[in-house]
Symmetry: C2
Subunit: 144 residues, 2 copies
């Protein structure tokens, strides 16, 4: 009763959402953390203050982002985008991406918002996930 | 502005939720999938039809379950329970756990519900995550 999503359906779900679950390897073990992201030109962009997930992705850049739309137990879609973590360090590109992230997520975290008010976010690590594979599954049922 | 949750706060969040995100290693890469679960005696119990996540956990039993409560970007909690996948094969124990899961999640998936109506769920893999470590973080702010 479940079916595989088409690549278009899977990409549409990633594009429609802003919150996903990042899967990575931290200290040799699977680690999952919710992140806000934007999806542009087939890549996933996000940023984070330094911490466990940044250290994890620097050590093991193979990561995934899972994105879902759950209506109920009978109607849901879940997509996993697999890719490689890549830090964006070139200042012009970093500012461009950070600007788009701040436009989408004006709140961010309080710490980051304060930094943004100062005109920059000096400690934030801006990164992309270079997506190489997307898989998705749907459960779709009619209930009386 | 974020803080570490106490073990009690972290466990309370896991106990209060029913939906979490399982992180595991599938085909050598991080994989994330939403699952329903119950939390009992400090362990996480769930079940699934055979598929990618079951194969993944049989191959690499170190997994995590991430559970969250997100009110907004300024107020959220996220917990990660690390542990080891363990299949429950003893029929009496399996039936006991499956009964508790069916009581909590009467719908499950349609396939499983049909099986459940037949008095059993022959293909379902019933498992626990033997939890060895729980970490949690909270962001808590007041907004005007």
């Amino acid at each position: 009763m479940s079916r595989t999503l088409t690549q278009t359906e899977a990409r549409d779900l990633i594009a429609a959402n802003k919150l996903g679950h990042l899967g990575c390897i931290a200290e040799s073990r699977p680690y999952v953390v919710p992140i806000n992201y934007i999806f542009e030109d087939g890549q996933i962009y996000s940023h984070s203050l330094p911490g466990l997930k940044i250290e994890a992705m620097r050590t093991e850049p193979h990561v995934c982002l899972q994105v879902e739309r759950i209506e109920d137990n009978f109607n849901w879609r879940s997509v996993v985008a697999y890719g490689a973590f890549e830090e964006i360090r070139v200042p012009s590109e970093r500012n461009d991406v950070l600007g788009k992230l701040l436009a989408q997520f004006p709140l961010l975290t309080p710490v980051e918002s304060l930094m943004a008010e100062d005109g920059n976010a000096p400690n934030s690590v801006v990164f992309r996930i270079v997506v190489d594979r997307i898989t998705g599954v749907a459960e779709e049922c009619w209930r009386e």
